[in-house]
Amino acid sequence: MTNWRPRSDEDFSAEVNAHLELETARLVEEGMAPEAARAAARKAFGNVARAQERFHESTRWVWVEQFLQDLRYAARGLRKSPSFVATAVLTLGVALGLLTVAFTVFNAYVLRPFAVHDPSRLYRLGWQSPDAAGRIFAWREYDELQSRTDLFDAVVAHDMRFIHSESAGGRSLTATYVSANYFQALRPRLLMGRGLGPADAGQPVAVISEQAWRRMLDADPAALGRTIDFDGSPVTIVGVLRQEFVGIDDFPRDIWVPARPEAAEGTEVVTRLRADVTPERVEAMLASFVARKAPPKVSPKDVRAMLVPNATANALSTDLLAALSPIFAAFALVLVTACFNLSNVMLARAVARQREIAVRLSLGASRPRIVRQLLTEGLLIAALGGAAAVLLAAFLMPAGIALLFRTLPPSLAALVRVVPMPIDYRVVGFAFAGVAAATIAFALVPALQASRPSLTDVLHGQRAGTRSASRMRSFLVVAQVAVSMLLVVTALVLARNFAAVGAIDLGYRTSGVYSVNVRGGHDELIRTAADALSADSRVAEIAVTSGNPLFVTHTLAAAPDGTDRGEVPVRYSFVSPEYFTVLQIPVREGRAFDAKEAATSARVAVISEATARAFWPGANPIGQTIRIAQPTNSRMDEIEGYTRVTVVGTVRDVVTGMMVNGPDRGHIYFPASAVHRRASALLLRPQATGDFRPDMAFATLRRAGLDPAIFEVFPMGEMRDAQMYPLKAGAWIGGLLGGVALALSVTGLYGVLAYMLTQRTREIGIRMALGATARGIIDLVVRQCLRLAGVGAIAGLVAAAVAMRALSSVITLEAVSLLDLTPFAAALVVVFSAVALAAYQPARRATRVDPAETLRADA
């Protein structure tokens, strides 16, 4: 007999037979008659069947057999009630499917290792000082790092840029400039061709992603050797990567080209640690290396090297989990509602099957065996639900991604990329862990409840145990209502937030204004671009600024001059006089800049009303002087040559940067022209009559001899929408979860009421016979219903208040408050309307009970 396979029953029987024969032979030898000897041998052996049974049960596989038996039994039982199975599988499939979708995204961005060789020892290098952090290194620093073979097996540089490609229909591509060893160190798999190597340095060659290959080259099987436009010059494709590899961070790339170490910009650095080196040791040894990264006012020894695991797009950390836990909790709560719902249905089923269970108990089945059997039934449903969930997730993922790109503002959609999000083994494993948890959650209580009937009562036709079962059912309904209340409140708070932020008055115009930005390091071209665009007849007005107000904020330290008040951080911008007219920011007092002040960078300032109020409360700010001080931390800028400026005017308060942070507490504007060194963006207002489009701006820039690839032209309105998008998406997802949970609770409540009424048919019949009106009966149902829903709603409101309090300490939305009564009140209305809907039909049915019939049935 081999060790890994248990002995068969047949083998054991053979041994028993051999024993009996040997014993018989022996007895015959001792002088017994063969027949008597056979009987004596059997007698001496004892119960043969029992020995065989004991053997059978001693083998480890008996539980499998029992499980299969239970499974067959459960399948037979479920086949008899297909509508129950369909509802249960659908309920669980939807709830678990939503959670699986959330997990699939999490998996893609956090758990799934990059499709590269040995991702586990990849670490991204960064630095951190008390008030700043970064991950960019100069190329000569990269060279230095590469020589540290005592620490690293490989040091890879990869630097991302948006580039412009005519081959992509004039849209942007995400490009990575990679070090010569990138492909050799990471070994991503290619669909065709080869990766880049040392021989490609300085050559116009590129490797493209599978997606780019499909989009730009229509999946041409002969793509190798074709050339595509890369920022205005042709590059030859030498390789196409497989779908699963899109780079080694969380922003997928379209195209890989050899690095240009001569370029001024630095690069990100990813290292592969030697097997005998720990990350802690490397961090310590790199301290001196990153010390030179110290920002002003920070001692070099306060700069710490950071090694961040780079096996996945985002490293798994407790901080990340804490940040994501509210989202996961919301998805999980929907599953919880589904489990409550199913548990309720299972309880009803169990009560209905009490006779069957009692018969099985009386025939000698043990209680654990019955519980196991009922759990198996739950498991079967859950497994079907799990399969439905995975299918649903597989369908929802591409649909959700398509929806994302449809709803994003178009100029943002052209830039955004998502990492591959496959339904891989982790996702399936997660779904089935969910199945196991759900089975316990929804099937255990009903199983324990059902296997506890008093035999005599049940066999006599009494419904024993229904009291505690119905209490349990009521509890489940209350819990469902509470959870959906929590989710509905959350959804309404999110929706209200979105509406409130959308209604924020920025204080300036965004529609009909285009923002023209120059990509990294080419600010000197702003002037040429400004000249070219102002000469364009379709452009009405053009303003120069040190940054687009929706995204760029700068802060300095300022105080009213001539006082002993300390400096406070104030936002500032360098703007041309046209800035206030293009954005329609009204001047309140004094005046805006004139052209001369702009041309000479005069030491004058226009300040926001809030600044004026803060610096000179109740006094006239015009003519006053502002003192500009040295910055006290790295979040503030030092502006060389500016120490004192005279206020010439005040303008209306505006919201810059993130809208949710509310209006600026202060803002100082300095005059500038397109030649000013801080000029980095243009704001453009087209003629009202012409139909201006961004590509017209590109054509104008090209005519002026500028490379359009280094410019970005965005409609300001879309930039505003882009900021709003996360809030909008949050409101949608919240609404979806709240809606599903509410629908589940309504069906749950409906089920309980309907069941309760069938249980109380007799009572209702007697009441009606004694003269109760239909109205009275409806009151009875409604009271029952309100009691359940009321308790649930109160519990849900309390939970929601606690949750919102906790959330508002994490998410700081200064513009709106998470603790606002309106959504709570609205949620109460929504939930109670849904409850009324659930109660209507059962109540109507109750009034149609025929007293004569019920009383006769009882007799």
Partner: protein
Amino acid sequence: MQGTLDVLILRTLIFGPEHGQGIARAIQQSSDDELLVEHGALYPALQRLEAQKLISAKWGTSANNRKARYYTLTKAGREHLAKQSNRWRRLAAAMARVLGPEPEQG
């Protein structure tokens, strides 16, 4: 008593491989039918010892040319028996002291 039968089986197998029926007979004879009432009760113990790798089993042919499953003491079984025998002897001695001399048969 748990373990008694195990020790008896192992002890029987000291003299060489034996099949179930042979072991049952040997135990009955050496213990005057006190410790093994039914032959069938032997098999769960054999099962257990085999699982613990204290004995190994193989089908073979008996002296009178019948097929039988023969059990052999393994090295681990031999060591186990040595340990257990000592324990039983000590226990038996202790029990004898506690219970005192056998009362005279009237």
